[in-house]
Amino acid sequence: METRLCSVLLAAALLAGCSWFHRGEQAPTQIVAEDPQGQPSVIEPQVNRRDVKTPKIKAKDFEVGAYFGALSVQDFGTNPVYGIRLAYHVSEDLFVEGYAAYSKAGQSSLEEVFPQITVLSSSGRQFTYYDLDVGYNVLPGEIFLGRGRAFNSALYVTFGIGDVKFADQDQFALNFGVGARILVTDWLALHMDVRDHIFESNLFGVDKNVDNIEATLGLTTFF
């Protein structure tokens, strides 16, 4: 009994499935016209409607990439820094940018002179930051390589705020920078940046503003 019920239900489901698959196929509408002799003739329209799609213009206003360079952590020497960046170009002059990077500070002069003193633990030496910046293309132009090659470029200034984590503490930081962007192709750009991250530190007992200057080289792609 149960098997029969199952097969009936299955058949019904299959029929429903088939009719669902054929839901778009309606019998062609026949237009019947009377011809002068009184003989009806059948005209089947063969013209398919053409959908003209205009291709969309791709906007390439975003820039994403990575950079590498040297970061001088005040009192802790100069060390490699690795970062990633994402930028959005608002107009030919203005862009907004966010980036994050990692570095590890070295030994302070105090530690070098007195090796028994440890100012920071290993995790405290990790220097990470993120920043949100506004940039302005001050000097857009072209850079020439020999006679036959010209690359679009721009010298820009940036200003922003962010967070620096150093000595196991997050600090509010300001940053100022100047950089050059050279477009190797329309989608690949080479960046050279010098940036100062300024924050207040009291690591050595006195509150002072420390300057952490970095020089980096980066590659980005526009999309």
Binding site: I57, K60, S91, N152, D186, L188
Partner: protein
């Protein structure tokens, strides 16, 4: 050298994937007496080619208000948005160059800024969607960096713009709810590490240029805690935003 090579290859792969997706380009007919093509996407770049009337140009992509185009004989250059908007499709219809989003009726807005939250420095970022011309839903993520603690704050709320058609200066008011997480630096530890909050806000906003705008906001928070008296906090911030 190897990481650099890997990065270039990665970027290349990333780019070629994107390029594949948009292989068909838009073709437009020059209807004005001529169309100037610059060597770069900026007002100062020299004109390197001039397309004539009735020439068919291919639009490759856009960057800010400039469009990279290719002339029939392969010359490439950048055309200003306003100039390209004067061309037509091959069918004679106007070129589908989207107009700039209107300041008073834009839909999306993304911004960031600086502020002071409970006497701590504040880094703030937000996204905003216009529900109507005057009411927006905003989502804010911010980090307050102080000497005693760091706080991570996220809020969601509604904001009303009183006169959306006032371009340069328009007052706003809002309310919403949020959540803060306290990461203490100096003992004693706070009673609650995280709290729910509600806020009211007053602010102003104005247009700067093209798609760039500024906002200033004051917020008053009520922090729901386990004490008998709710804690109250104040926040000031100034930010810049891009709208779409």
């Amino acid at each position: 050298m190897r990481p650099l090579l890997a990065l270039v290859l990665l970027l290349q792969a990333f780019h070629s994937n994107l390029a594949h997706a948009a292989e068909r380009h838009l073709e437009l007919v020059v209807t004005q007496p001529y169309l100037e093509m610059h060597s770069g996407p900026g007002r100062g770049f020299p004109i390197v080619y001039v397309a004539e009337r009735d020439e068919l140009i291919t639009v490759l992509f856009s960057r800010t208000e400039w469009y990279k185009v290719r002339a029939p004989r392969g010359q490439e250059g950048w055309v200003r948005r306003a100039d390209l908007a004067l061309t037509t499709l091959t069918s004679g219809e106007p070129a589908p160059i989207p107009p700039y989003p209107e300041f008073s009726t834009h839909h999306w807005e993304v911004g960031a800024g600086y502020g002071v939250y409970n006497r701590e420095n504040l880094v703030t970022a937000y996204g905003d969607y216009s529900l109507t011309d005057s009411i927006d839903a905003e989502f804010v993520v911010q980090q307050a960096l102080g000497t005693l603690d760091n706080r991570y704050i996220t809020t969601i709320g509604l904001r009303h713009t009183f006169v959306p058609e006032w371009k340069w200066f328009s007052p706003t008011a809002g309310l919403g709810a949020g959540y803060q997480y306290i990461d203490d630096k100096v003992p004693p530890a706070p009673r609650d590490k995280s709290n729910e909050m509600a806020y009211v806000s007053l602010g102003v906003r104005g247009f700067i240029t093209r798609r760039f705008m500024w906002r200033a906001d004051w917020r008053h928070y009520v922090v729901f805690n386990n004490l008998n008296v709710s804690e109250e906090l104040e926040e000031w911030k100034l930010g810049f935003a891009v709208f779409f």
